[in-house]
């Protein structure tokens, strides 16, 4: 009998043996698939967010200068820009106007941003797609905002930003400088923060240090720091991530431990009968190897495929309640798949290999003792 034919016969027997315990095996496969699904979904989701952030935020301001007063971010006088502009290597400094607005009608927070060249006259705004979805407002509708002195200002929505940019503009309102200042009562000589253009990116740290020396009440944030913020976003050591991951890993450990610590009486009896019928110990181990492989490989492949569909076809629907939190405006997480083959390989080696080994180990113990003793229990 050829080697291939022998393997096929053993697999035929293994599959029949699994079907005799189909309730238990179905439950086992379902739990296993679910664990792989959760772990793979988290891996796919976080890698996609990180890669997308690194691509999109590559053109973020080179340095942002904030002013801190009593530990809080405060408005920065535009006069600060004059001295910063004199630092060697600084190409341009400009004030940036942006802020938050809480809308008590919808219970939502908006981010108001003043573009450098706002194409519409005062009294008009442009809104993000998330805001459009939550408020139901659309082009040419009136969108009132309450100003700092309590007066309602009726703005006209001139445009809406495409849903494709939801990941950066879902809650955004673009507004003219004049409207922004009158809405929040910000005097002409102040901005939310300053942004810098620098001639040589290698000089960023030197320039930032000089800014700190000239204005000790400021806090410069470089583009590298912005990018690093998103490199570590949803870090596995942080908050809920460790709860989700440790839960899944613990479930898997219990699962593998249960397999590794012993066989059921029925399984022991089966091994005893096979040995009595003339099966070699190596044949029994081969059967258990195929049993472990059948369960773990099927679960791994199904779990990965389901995770891919979950994250990239259904926009991570199951994560939605956790991601939403108390946010009223919620971006549509239609992410672009960036799959790291190394992470998939790690998941394979952390799930398939331990389970297969855990299946073989107790069988080896049962297969090496006398068949009569095994059958008698």
């Amino acid at each position: 009998m050829s080697w291939v034919e022998k393997q096929r016969n053993i697999i035929d027997f293994t599959i029949s043996s699994l079907f005799r315990r189909k309730g238990k095996i179905a439950a086992l496969t379902a739990v296993y698939t679910l664990i792989v699904f959760i772990l793979a979904s988290v891996i796919f989701f976080t890698s996609a967010i990180r890669r997308e952030a690194s691509l999109i935020l590559r053109d973020a301001p080179e340095i942002v200068v904030q002013r801190l007063v009593a530990g809080r971010h405060d408005l920065i006088p535009l006069s600060y820009a004059e001295r910063i502009r004199e630092i060697r290597g600084v190409q341009a400094v400009s004030g940036r106007l942006w802020g938050y607005y809480y809308d008590p009608v919808y219970g939502a927070n908006y981010t108001l941003v003043v573009p450098v060249d706002f194409p519409h006259p005062p009294g008009n705004i442009v809104i993000g797609d998330g805001l459009k979805r939550s408020s139901g407002a659309t082009r040419d509708d009136i969108f009132p905002l309450r100003s700092h002195d309590g007066a309602m200002i009726p703005f006209i929505i001139k445009e809406t930003i495409s849903a494709a940019s939801d990941l950066i503009t879902a809650d955004t309102i673009l507004i003219s400088e004049e409207d922004f200042r009158s809405l929040f009562g910000i005097a002409g000589g102040y901005a939310t923060d300053l942004t810098l253009k620098v001639r040589n990116p290698k000089e960023l740290s030197t320039i930032a240090r000089k800014i700190g020396m000239i204005y000790p009440d400021t806090r410069p944030i470089s583009r590298d720091e912005i990018l690093r913020t998103y490199e570590s976003v949803f870090d596995w050591r942080g908050g809920m991530m460790i709860v989700v991951l440790s839960g899944s890993v613990l479930a898997f450990v219990i699962f593998a431990w249960d397999k590794a610590t012993g066989l059921s009486a029925e399984e022991k009896k089966e091994i005893g009968i096979l040995k009595g019928l003339g099966w070699e110990t190596s044949d029994v181990l081969l059967m258990k190897f195929w049993e472990g492989t059948a369960v773990s490989l099927s679960s791994f492949l199904m779990g990965i495929l389901l995770a891919y569909c979950h994250v990239f076809f259904t926009a991570s629907t199951l994560f939605e309640p956790a991601l939403k939190g108390w946010s009223v405006i919620y971006p549509d997480f239609r992410l672009t798949p960036f799959i790291d083959p190394l992470q998939v390989a790690n998941l394979f080696f952390l799930t398939v290999i331990p389970y297969t080994v855990a299946t073989i180990a107790p069988s080896w113990r049962a297969a090496t003792i006398d068949p009569d003793a095994v059958m008698r229990g």
Binding site: Q7, N9, I11, I15, I49, E52, L55, I56, L57, R58, D59, A60, V64, Q66, L68, G71, R72, A108, N109, T111, V113, P115, G130, S165, D166, L167, I168, A170, D171, T172, S205, R209, G212, R219, P220, I221, E225, T229, Y230, S232, V233, F234, D235, G239, A294, S298, L301, L305, Y308, F312, A322, L323, G325, W326, S327, V328, P331, T336, P337, P341
Partner: protein, 102 residues
Amino acid sequence: MSLRKSTLFFLFIALNTVLFAFMFVDASHRRASALPSFAEKRRFVKDLRLTDLCLFTDTRYTRHPSMADPFSPFQDHPFALEHFPSGSLLTPPPHLRLERRL
């Protein structure tokens, strides 16, 4: 003629493996077709001088994590605890954790 169980098993694994390989092909295709959308988002970031992704909108330190200062999650009142759900998903940015100032 019914198929042997081993044949069915290999067919099932082969089908899943093909779908697994197709997953990488689909990912590559989606990445290629997302290029114009990436260019659009980069243009927004550049023109509006944006610094953060809009992942959460419930609180300012998770809406703009890179702009947050170390005190912002605890500013509501003296001895206030950070209590927004999104705060349990996002860790503080590395430049705050290391208390590094350029």
